[in-house]
C-alpha cells in the first residue's frame, strides 16, 4: 500500500529525514519508535504532504502512485489519514459540521453528490456509539476547550468517520491517562481490518500493549536503524534507545 524509498526531507534547510525506507501492506500495523527529535513526526507530516517540509530525495508511493505532486487534501481523498499529535482548535465549527464538510469534500473530489443528511446522521450515530462518544461532544466547537483525552478521541472519531486506507497515528498516546489510552486503543483496534493499514508513531512501548503491532521500526537521526517484530518494543523498553544510537554510529 505504502512504499517509501530513500526518503530525504528537510525543513528550512535543516535535514531531518536522511534516507527512510519503509513498506506497509494492507492489514498491517507498523509501529515507529524513536527518541525525541529523531524524525518520527516529520515522517508523518511528510507522508501527509505538509508543505513546509521539502522532499529533497527519494519517493513516497501510495497504492502504486507517486505522491510527490499531490496536495494534502488529495492525499486525504486517496485515503491517507493523520491523527495529529496536537490537534488544532477551530472555534465556532462544530465537530459534526467539520466532519460533514470533510466527508462531502472527499465525495466531491470523487464526483459524488453530498452525503444525504439521513445517511450522515446514521454514520455519526454508528461511529460515536462504537467509540463510546457522547453526542453532546459532537456539537462542541472542534477541539476548543477539549481535554487532551477528548482531543485524541476526537481524532479517532474522525478516522472512523472518514474510513481511510492508511492511518498514521502521531503520538496518539502522549498526554493520555491510562483510561483514555485504553478507550483510544480500543477504537483503533475496532477499526483494524484486512484492507487497511496503520502506522503508530510513539515514544513509549505503553501504547503497544493495547495495540499489538506486526512490525516495529526504530528511527534515529532520520533513518530507520532497526526493524523487528513486536518483541523489539519490549527490548527498547528495557534497554532504552542508547544502545541503538551507539549501534547506529558504529
Amino acid at each position: 500500500m505504502l512504499k517509501i524509498k530513500n526518503l530525504h526531507a528537510s525543513v528550512e534547510g535543516k535535514k531531518i529525514l536522511k534516507g527512510v525506507n519503509l513498506e506497509v501492506n494492507a492489514g498491517e500495523v507498523h509501529a515507529i519508535m524513536g527518541p525525541n527529535g529523531s524524525g518520527k513526526s516529520t515522517l508523518a507530516s511528510v507522508i501527509a504532504g505538509k508543505e513546509e517540509f521539502e522532499v529533497t530525495q527519494g519517493s513516497i508511493e501510495f497504492e502504486g502512485e507517486d505522491l510527490d505532486e499531490t496536495s494534502p487534501e488529495e492525499r486525504a481523498h486517496k485515503g491517507v489519514f493523520l491523527s495529529f499529535q496536537y490537534p488544532v482548535e477551530i472555534p465556532g465549527v462544530s465537530v459534526t459540521n467539520f466532519m460533514k464538510t470533510a466527508i462531502n469534500e472527499s465525495r466531491k473530489a470523487k464526483g459524488l453528490e453530498d452525503m444525504p443528511a439521513k445517511e450522515m446522521l446514521k454514520l455519526i450515530r454508528e461511529k460515536s456509539e462504537m467509540l463510546d462518544i457522547d453526542r453532546k461532544f459532537l456539537s462542541r466547537s472542534l477541539n476548543e476547550g477539549f481535554s487532551g483525552g477528548e482531543k485524541k478521541r476526537n481524532e479517532i472519531f474522525q478516522m472512523a468517520m472518514l474510513e481511510p486506507k492508511l492511518s498514521i497515528l502521531d503520538e496518539t498516546d502522549s498526554g493520555l491517562d491510562i483510561d483514555a489510552l485504553r478507550i483510544v486503543a480500543n477504537g483503533v483496534n475496532k477499526l483494524r481490518s484486512a484492507d487497511k493499514a496503520t502506522i503508530l508513531i510513539t515514544h513509549y512501548q505503553r501504547l503497544l500493549e493495547y495495540i499489538i503491532p506486526d512490525f516495529v521500526h526504530v528511527i534515529h537521526d532520520g533513518k530507520i536503524v532497526k526493524s523487528g517484530g513486536k518483541e523489539l518494543a519490549l527490548e527498547l523498553e528495557e534497554k532504552g534507545y542508547d544502545w541503538l544510537k551507539q549501534e547506529a554510529t558504529v
Binding site: K50, A76, F84, V93, F98, A102, E105, Q158
Partner: protein, 481 residues
C-alpha cells in the same frame, strides 16, 4: 494547492469585485456643487412641504459651520463636497404597477446582482422596497402591510402622505447638528425608507430594502426612519451592493429608530459596496450615522455584516432611555486589500435596569485596517445597568491590522460592565489540519471564518444569513484556484 502564508496572501489579492458593472440608465442628475439653491431644488424636486425645506436649510446652515471629523482610525483623501452632484434619479418615473413597466435594463441589473424583484417577491414573507440611486422604483406587498396599518414606503412619500409622523420623529434621535455627515445628510438627503408599525402590531414579514449607488460621482444620502409604536415588533433588513467606479463615492446615510414602550426593532444590514481595487483605488466612502432610542421595556438589535466600502465610519447606537430597555449590537466587519473600517457602537444607558450586549467580530486581510470603537456609557441615574462586550479580531496574513478602542464611562456604582477581547490569526496549522481531512484551502478559510462569525451570523434572519455567508466567502476567497 496546499497552503503557505505567501499563497494565502496571493489568493486573497486575486479577489475581484463581483458586482463591478455599471448600468447605463438615463437619469436626471443635478450639476455638481452644494449651496442653498441646491438644497431648495432637492426639496422642490421631491415636492416637499415648506417645513421640510426649512428643516433642510437649517441643517445646511449647521453643516457649513462644521468640520469633517478626524478622530477615526482611517486615512483618506477628503471628498470635495462641491464636486459632488447631490441629486440623481432614474428618469423612468413615475412608479410602476407591474414589473413589465420597469426599465428592462434596470431589471437586468437586479438579476445580475441576484436580487431580481421576481425572486424577492417569491421569497416567503419578504416585502421589498428597492432603492436604485435615490428614488424608489418598485414597492411590493404594500397591500398586506396596509391591512395591518403598517406603513412602508419611501421617505419622500412619507413626507407627502404622513407629514405629522415625519415631522414628529425626523431628527429626534439624530439631530441635524449631531455630526458633520448627519448635518450634510439632513440638508440634502435624496430618499430612503420610512416604516411605521402601529401599536401592538407584529409586522408579519421581514421588511427589506436594497440600496444601490449607480451614478458616477453621485453622493447618496439615504434617510431611514423606523417607528415602532407601543408593543409592536418589526424586523428590518437592509442590503447593499454597488457597481464599481473609479472615483470615490460618498455615502452618508442617517438611520433613526424609535422603539416606544414595549416595542422591539431588529435592524439587520449586509453591506457590500465597492471596496476599491487591489491597489486601493476607488471604492465607496461610507460615513453613516445610525441610532435608535428605546423607551420603557423596549429593545433594539443592530446586526451588521460589513464587507464592502473603501472607508467605513459607522457606529449603530442605542440610547436606552426607558427603564428595563435593551440594546444589542452584533457585527462582522471584513476588510481586505486597502480597506479601512472604523466601526462599533455606542450604548448609552439612561434608564434603570437597562442592559446592552456588544458582539463584534473583525476580520482583516491584505493591507487593510480594521478598528472596533465602542462606547458604553452608564448615566448616574441608570441603576443596575449591565453591559457585556466581546470584541474578537481575526487576522489573515502579516500586513493587516486590527485595533480595539473601547470607551467605558460609568457614573453609577451599581453598573456591571464586562469587556472581553481576543485577537487570533488563521494559522498554517489550522489550514493544514483541514487539508489533511480533505478540505481544500479555500473551503478551509470559509469554514474558519464562518466559525469565527457564527455568533453574529446566527442573529440574522435565515434568508439573510445565507446571503451574508456568501458575501464573507466572496470577500475573502474570491477566485482561489
Amino acid at each position: 494547492m496546499a497552503y503557505t502564508e505567501e499563497e494565502l496572501k496571493k489568493e486573497l489579492e486575486t479577489k475581484e469585485y463581483e458586482y463591478g458593472f455599471y448600468t447605463d440608465i438615463e437619469s436626471d442628475t443635478f450639476p455638481p456643487g452644494l449651496n442653498e439653491e441646491v438644497v431648495i431644488a432637492i426639496s422642490k424636486k421631491k415636492e416637499e412641504p415648506e417645513w421640510m425645506t426649512l428643516w433642510r436649510l437649517e441643517a445646511f446652515k449647521y453643516w457649513k459651520e462644521m468640520k469633517e471629523p478626524e478622530w477615526a482610525n482611517v486615512h483618506y483623501e477628503k471628498p470635495d463636497f462641491q464636486a459632488i452632484s447631490y441629486y440623481s434619479a432614474p428618469n423612468s418615473k413615475p412608479k410602476y404597477d407591474s414589473l413589465d413597466d420597469v426599465d428592462p435594463e434596470l431589471l437586468d441589473t437586479f438579476k445580475r446582482l441576484g436580487i431580481s424583484v421576481d425572486e424577492q417577491k417569491k421569497l416567503t414573507g419578504v416585502a421589498v422596497d428597492i432603492v436604485m440611486d435615490s428614488v424608489s422604483v418598485a414597492t411590493s406587498f404594500k397591500k398586506t402591510l396596509g391591512e395591518k396599518g403598517i406603513i412602508f414606503c419611501s421617505i419622500s412619500e412619507a413626507i407627502r402622505e404622513h407629514p405629522e409622523l415625519v415631522k414628529k420623529y425626523i431628527g429626534s434621535v439624530v439631530p441635524k447638528r449631531d455630526n458633520f455627515y448627519a448635518a450634510l445628510n439632513s440638508a440634502v438627503f435624496s430618499d430612503g425608507s420610512f416604516c411605521y408599525i402601529p401599536k401592538g402590531v407584529r409586522c408579519p414579514m421581514e421588511l427589506s430594502t436594497y440600496f444601490r449607488i449607480n451614478q458616477a460621482g453621485t453622493g447618496q444620502f439615504e434617510r431611514t426612519l423606523v417607528i415602532a409604536e407601543e408593543g409592536s415588533y418589526v424586523s428590518y433588513l437592509e442590503g447593499c451592493t454597488a457597481p464599481s467606479r473609479d472615483e470615490n463615492q460618498l455615502h452618508a446615510a442617517v438611520v433613526e429608530l424609535i422603539a416606544l414602550d414595549d416595542a422591539e426593532i431588529k435592524y439587520s444590514t449586509v453591506q457590500n459596496w465597492f471596496p476599491g481595487n487591489k491597489e486601493g483605488k476607488g471604492g465607496v466612502y461610507n460615513f453613516v450615522t445610525k441610532r435608535g432610542i428605546c423607551e420603557k421595556n423596549a429593545k433594539i438589535s443592530w446586526t451588521q455584516v460589513e464587507t464592502g466600502s473603501a472607508v467605513t465610519w459607522k457606529y449603530p447606537s442605542c440610547i436606552l432611555k426607558g427603564d428595563n430597555s435593551i440594546g444589542e449590537f452584533y457585527s462582522i466587519a471584513v476588510t481586505n486589500n486597502f480597506q479601512q473600517a472604523d466601526t462599533g457602537t455606542k450604548m448609552v444607558h439612561l434608564g434603570k435596569n437597562t442592559r446592552s450586549t456588544i458582539i463584534s467580530k473583525g476580520i482583516s486581510a491584505g493591507k487593510s485596517q480594521n478598528s472596533y470603537r465602542g462606547l458604553v456609557q452608564i448615566n448616574s441615574r441608570a441603576d443596575n445597568a449591565r453591559n457585556f462586550s466581546q470584541c474578537d479580531s481575526l487576522l489573515m496574513g502579516n500586513e493587516c491590522g486590527a485595533h480595539t478602542f473601547p470607551y467605558i464611562e460609568a457614573k453609577n456604582p451599581t453598573a456591571m460592565i464586562e469587556h472581553e477581547a481576543t485577537t487570533s490569526k488563521i494559522g498554517e496549522d489550522q489550514i493544514f489540519y483541514c487539508n489533511q481531512r480533505g478540505i481544500d484551502t479555500e473551503k478551509a478559510i470559509a469554514l474558519i471564518v464562518n466559525g469565527f462569525s457564527k455568533e453574529v451570523l446566527n442573529k440574522l434572519p435565515m434568508e439573510f444569513a445565507v446571503e451574508a455567508q456568501k458575501l464573507l466567502e466572496i470577500s475573502l476567497e474570491g477566485s482561489v484556484g
